[in-house]
């Protein structure tokens, strides 16, 4: 096993819910030692939520429930857990001692919380001059909306992205993507900025403060939409699956219940290949479809033709035939399709790990393959405070008696 690329770095993770913990987990997957600081005094909300494993019990934060959330297990794998009650002076002091021995501090607190905890960037710099502090506020640490309460869909609404998710025509706007889009976008950008800052620190010895406003990270991928408005003067609404440069370009119904196939054609050569793959039916010869401009204008008629061919076939057959002819096509997969797909299986998109309370569980695997230093899931998500003794006694060097006292005083809690 080769050495993992981030194995020289220690990260203190104050993240809660999604964006912060996922940013830290992207580093943990590739070897960083990530220490999750959490507490029963204020549990990470993702340890609660809706139970999926076992009985749908009521129990709040009592008993085993905080250990049974698979979503939490996904974005907290490969981490160590220390429970520090940051409401206490001693808890905050222990956090500082941990930070002194670390390279990166990550948080997605609301603006002002780090200052209240005495863990602001200037204070951390005094402790550890070359620390890298990463904050992930919703819309920024400054500005008129800085204190807004915002979850991922709220950010997506403010970003402009949501205004384009829906069908063309007058059907009610869909808006929602069934995933915490802005959380993940912010997490990936935070991880990216962190490794860039680590490289800079390796070269120069200099740390820094990184602010990733989740709204700005989301908009940073929407240049097409912003430039479209400025270049055309028109406010674009949702356009379904239509694309200004592709035709056909849609998800088409196949045989079976709720089965769909995506087909995307850009060039004339791809269009001709699609016609051949479909057995060159008469409608393909319609002169309106011969060139791309005509196909774009008449895309609804084109869709009707393609659909007449896909409707009686299985999505798998359609993909196979079209790909044999060099046409971009893929089944519209649900999570069952993804989990059982031989391609995603071979690429280890989903991995199993044994968790002490759940047993064997399947989690998402590596999002990208560093083929020389692959990383992966080395340890399951930690139970609450699982590594207290290691971190406080071994790493910080507390004597056993002191450790016990801090537990009884609910500082380590």
């Amino acid at each position: 096993m080769s050495v993992l690329p981030l194995s020289n770095f220690r990260v203190v993770d104050f993240g809660t819910a999604w964006a912060g913990p996922m940013a830290a987990s992207l580093l943990a997957d590739l070897g960083a030692q990530v220490i999750k600081v959490e507490s029963r005094a204020r549990l990470d909300g993702l340890r609660l939520g809706r139970p999926i494993v076992g009985e749908d019990i009521a129990g709040g934060d009592r008993g085993r429930w905080p250990e049974l959330q698979p979503v939490f297990h996904g974005i907290n794998r490969n981490k160590l857990s220390v429970t520090l009650n940051l409401k206490s002076d001693e808890g905050r002091q222990l956090a500082r001692e941990l930070i002194v021995r670390s390279d990166v501090v990550m948080n997605n607190y609301s603006p002002g919380v780090l200052e209240r905890l005495g863990l602001s960037y200037p204070e951390l710099c005094q402790l550890q001059g070359d620390i890298i502090l990463v904050s992930m506020p919703s819309v920024g640490e400054t500005g008129p909306l800085r204190d807004i309460l915002a979850y991922a869909p709220i950010i997506q609404a403010l970003s402009g992205l949501m205004s384009r998710v829906g069908y063309s025509g007058d059907e009610q706007l869909v808006g929602e993507l069934q995933a915490p889009w802005s959380d993940v976008v912010a997490a990936m950008h935070a991880a990216l900025a962190t490794v860039a800052a680590l490289r800079h620190r390796n070269q120069t010895g200099q740390g820094q403060f990184i602010e990733v406003a989740q709204l700005e990270a989301t908009i940073s991928m929407l240049g097409e939409g912003l430039l479209d408005y400025q270049m055309s003067g028109q406010v674009a609404g949702p356009a379904g699956n239509y694309d200004p440069d592709f035709a056909p370009h849609n998800n088409y119904p196949c045989g079976g219940d709720d089965q769909w196939v995506s087909i995307a054609v850009r060039t004339d050569a791809e269009w001709q290949a699609l016609c051949r793959a479909m057995g060159s039916p008469d409608w393909c010869g319609d002169p309106r479809f011969a060139g791309r401009p005509g196909r774009l204008v008449n895309v609804k008629d084109l869709d009707a033709g393609v659909e007449s061919w896909t409707r009686g076939r299985s999505a798998g057959d359609v993909v196979q035939v079209l790909q044999q002819h060099g046409v971009a096509a893929m089944k519209v997969m649900n999570i069952e399709d993804q989990f059982t797909d031989p391609h995603l299986q071979q690429r280890q998109a989903y991995l199993e790990i044994e968790h002490p309370h759940v047993g064997i569980e399947w989690l998402y695997g590596m999002p990208w393959l560093l083929t020389g230093t692959p990383g992966g899931i080395r340890t399951p998500a930690p139970t609450l405070g699982q590594h207290n003794e290691y971190i406080l006694c071994r790493l910080l060097g507390l004597p056993p008696g002191e450790f016990k006292r801090l537990q009884e005083a609910q500082v380590v809690y």
Binding site: P153, L177, Q230, N241, N334, F339, P342, W362
Partner: protein
Amino acid sequence: MTAEPPPTPPRKPGALQGVRVVEWGSLVSAPFCGKLLAELGAEVIKVEPPGIGDDGRNSGPFPRGVPHPERSGLFLFANLNKRGVTLNLTDAAGRGLLGRLLESADVFLENQPLELLRQTGLDYASLQVQHPRLVVTSISPYGRSGPYQEYRGYDLTANAMSGLSFGTGHPHREPLTTPMHQASYLAGVGGAFATIVALLGRDLTGRGQLVDVAEAQVIGTLLTGYHLPTYIYRGVAGWRSGNRMRLGLFPNCVLPCQDGYICIDAPQIEQYQRFLALLGEQDWMEEPRYRDRRAMSDQYPAEAESLIAPWFMQRTREEILQACLANRIPCVPVKTFDEVLADPQLNYRDYFQEVGRVEAGGYRYPGPPYRLSETPCRVVRPAPTLGQHNREILGGEVGISEAELAQLVRGGIV
């Protein structure tokens, strides 16, 4: 007495100063990855086929909708801060010149079809022999290993495989892909992260490696992977639920109002109670059927939404925003892009950056996604025109003579 102008503060270097990237990118994913690396201070040289250029040049938006290879909004945005050369890589002489560029490069970044990479000897198996320290970042719809490695794909088909499309849209309609090529952009971000990690790894091992980023897998893990337990433990493979998030707590949806749409997502009980107080006392609020927020979200969401919809329909987005800000309720207008450009929060923070180029005019671009206190991102140059830096790079830096360059241009190599 004339005051001396204040000295210009020295420019802080970018975080990736000294990193050299050669990009052979097309459309969005690899170009956007290159843009992120360039914005962080890497030196990125973009290689395009002579006369044709990156296919992104043929993709909209265009000013007033008129196509022009130097005016594509997609291209201008995804290629900020790069220098550009033209090389015909299907020709041995062109590949020879690329090899010269790669000698001093840290990263080769591409998103070309595997078949073309093999034909040109630019697949990783071939490259690593000559350039063992090179990090090769390869972004593709489905990835460079596995049974579909040679399949054709675009953003639409990557979204399809990712699981995101299946859940997006109304239950009675076709699944919806992400708008504006979001799978490709996201893979670009992941590619930039993984590239820098591989560079850090090279400092430890002395070796480069292949970084294999599949658009479908980035989304299929980080975004939709969390649906896996619901499938394994509950047997639920997914469904479309239109304007509302599934498996949430009511209210968690997009609803029409007087002048557009709003989005509300108020999971915490205190948030919901403040929202009910804002609505004012109503008979339904006491009924047991409308006190179970999980059932309202899962079992009869349309009915539940109809109870709160009138309050929104009687108000404008601005009135709703102000009332919800004042009462600490997570509920905002669904903004369109003209409104995003005018947004007070973003403009207070100087988020947008004005970039101009003679052939294309000036526009306001999205700013960098993050702010680094010691190594700030900045715009150094607009996207390159086709072959803009041929002489500077191939002549000045690679050391091709003027006469040789002229011959290469005549031969269609440059």
